[in-house]
């Protein structure tokens, strides 16, 4: 691997955007309150016409990005908080995902939608959504969820370069996470490939977005108890790297999925269903989902924090399987 620099998850996202805007002048960005960052130099010396600080009109600009993508640009739409994507869900689902198919391939739609998941910040139910599962159910969309600064950079860059609509679900809880990140502007994380973050033989923990920290923490604890856990960081949620998941379970025979989304029809459900169908004969024990329960997110941090998956709950689930 080439030279690296120590930066945060948030800086890595900004860097990815700045690099791609510098490399390709068809990349533009649309979102609310972004001109302030422009003033702060976050976009370098990019032409102001490529930085659109938009009115609070999510449905409008999410749809405009589709039209712009169909006619030669590579727009990045920054929804800021993921709870606002519902307002833009019609153009994402009815247009971005469908246009290419409906027109028999006449267009490509290289648009990137960014949404930061602000859960665990005491901002209550209307600012704490983790809505990736609903988009995983929509054919024609790609969905990624980086869990490290390197992947924040690499996946956002891959999304911008991809010729199809990609949704990037960023984990606000990781903004301050720091790591050595490759410097080269060529660095991308391939869409559709999971990463094995820790090898193990007794148990597979598949983790979504920021759950990785907790999965690794649990694996550490379990190691002290003599249990060897393999940790897979999905990175891409659509399409899923089913090969990585099934291969690991074939080795360990046990599966836990740690997922920030609400339980019912979440990403964890899909992974469980894939293994229950295609990896059933390799399974020794039930598949356990460690997810946020099906309750809305309360404001009080005292009530909010215990709702999310954490190292303790993952390790406890693992013990039930051994």
């Amino acid at each position: 691997m080439s030279a690296t620099q120590l930066i945060t998850y948030l800086e890595a996202l900004g860097l990815a955007q700045r690099e791609e805007m510098a490399l390709d002048e068809s990349v533009i960005i649309i979102g609310e309150d972004i001109s302030l960052y422009a003033a702060g130099g976050a976009y370098g010396d990019i032409d102001a016409k490529r930085i659109r600080s938009a009115p609070i009109s999510e449905c409008g600009f999410a749809g405009m990005a589709v039209g712009a993508a169909m006619t030669g640009l590579r727009p990045i739409v920054d929804f800021t908080i993921a709870s606002f994507v519902y307002l833009g869900s019609d153009p994402i689902i009815n247009q971005a995902a469908k246009v290419r198919y409906m027109t028999g391939g006449q267009f490509k739609v290289p648009v990137t939608y960014r949404a930061s998941m602000w859960h665990n910040q005491a901002n209550a139910a209307q600012h704490s959504d983790r809505p990736y599962p609903m988009f995983m159910n929509v054919p024609g969309l790609k969905v990624v969820a980086p869990a490290t600064p390197s992947d924040a950079k690499g996946l956002l860059k891959a999304a911008i370069r991809d010729d199809d609509p990609v949704l990037v679900f960023e984990d606000n809880d990781l903004w301050a996470m720091r790591e050595e990140v490759p410097i080269t502007t060529d660095f991308v994380t391939p869409i559709g490939k999971a990463a094995i973050r820790r090898e193990g033989s007794d148990l597979t923990i598949v983790s979504v977005a920021g759950c990785l920290r907790f999965a690794l923490g649990a694996a550490e604890t379990l190691a002290k108890e003599g249990v060897s856990a393999e940790v897979i960081d999905l990175r891409t949620l659509a399409p899923l790297d089913t090969y990585a998941i099934l291969t690991s379970v074939a080795k360990t025979g046990r599966l836990i999925i740690a997922d920030y989304a609400h339980r019912t029809c979440g990403a964890a459900a899909e992974i469980s269903a894939i293994v229950a169908e295609d990896g059933f004969d390799t399974l020794k024990r039930p598949i356990i989902r460690v997810t946020t329960p099906d309750i809305q997110i309360p404001f009080s941090p005292k009530m909010e924090k215990p709702l999310y998956p954490n190292a303790t709950s993952i390790a406890a689930a693992a013990r039930r399987l051994m």
Binding site: G60, T71, D90, M102, Q106, D163, D164, D281
Partner: protein, 333 residues
Amino acid sequence: MQSNEIDTDAYFRMNKIRAFETAVSRLIREGEVAGACHSSIGQEAAIVGACMALRLDDYIAGTHRSHGHPIGKGAELKPLMAEILGKETGICKGRGGSMHLTDASVGSIGESAIVGGGIPIATGAALSAQVRSSDQVALTFFGDGAVNEGVFHECLNMAAIWKLPVIFFCENNGYAAVTPAKSTHGQSDVAKRAEGYGVPGVIVDGQDFDAVFDAASQAVARARRGEGPTLIEAKTYRFDEHCVGLFINGAYRPKEEIEQFKQNRDPLILFREVLLKRGHLPQQLDAIGEEARRLVEEAVVFAKESPEPDPAEAFTCLFANPIAQQAYERASS
């Protein structure tokens, strides 16, 4: 007053739309068409007046009622008709059907069956033209029903603040499906909604090709000069039911109203009268009509004779960049 050539071209395009829609209705009666079709008959002057103000490389976005829009913009008829029959040779390879007759080759970029859905697409194409420093413009067609979708306002406002080269073109035919516009509009002129955004709003007689063409040409020139959007409201009328074959005539609009429009406000008849006054000969105009109908019938034959798509093909065209998954050898079970 426009050139002779524009006159006859416009008349040709209007005739092609009329003949195309007439043929589609016949095919529906013959049971050849699956799904729903929405006819543009009655609205040809509005459609062609708008399209002829545009260059081939300008963009249009349409609606569920968009057989006429690509034809007005100059599309080949055969792939359109084949699409309506769901054939492999269709412009969208049978995937789109009547509500999605998108033809990129003439700048038709989104015939959207989501009411209002084409508006942000066109506004985004205008943004794209502006960012690319191209002098293309975009025009979005929509109905009186669509102006009640919030996205119309959002886009009108964004077009205004960024002076985007886009024309908002409302075909106000007085009804959204079976709901009269007067029952769903706080005030009856769509064009007046433009003022709230500092955008010029223009009302034209949508049955009058010249009036539409003039208004659209001015709006296009303004957009190309970089002065921003215009909202044009063409007052028009649809002669057919909301969907072809939906028999609820008279339940929500008086039969006399329909008859009155067909008799006195048919855009093809009105335009023919104008052309005759301008010195075009009846035989010449008849020949144009004939040629239009001949092309449509050719398209019908082509469509009927084209092969059905292979069901296995349903799995292609979803992604421009499909991601291949490594195959996992399923454990024997």
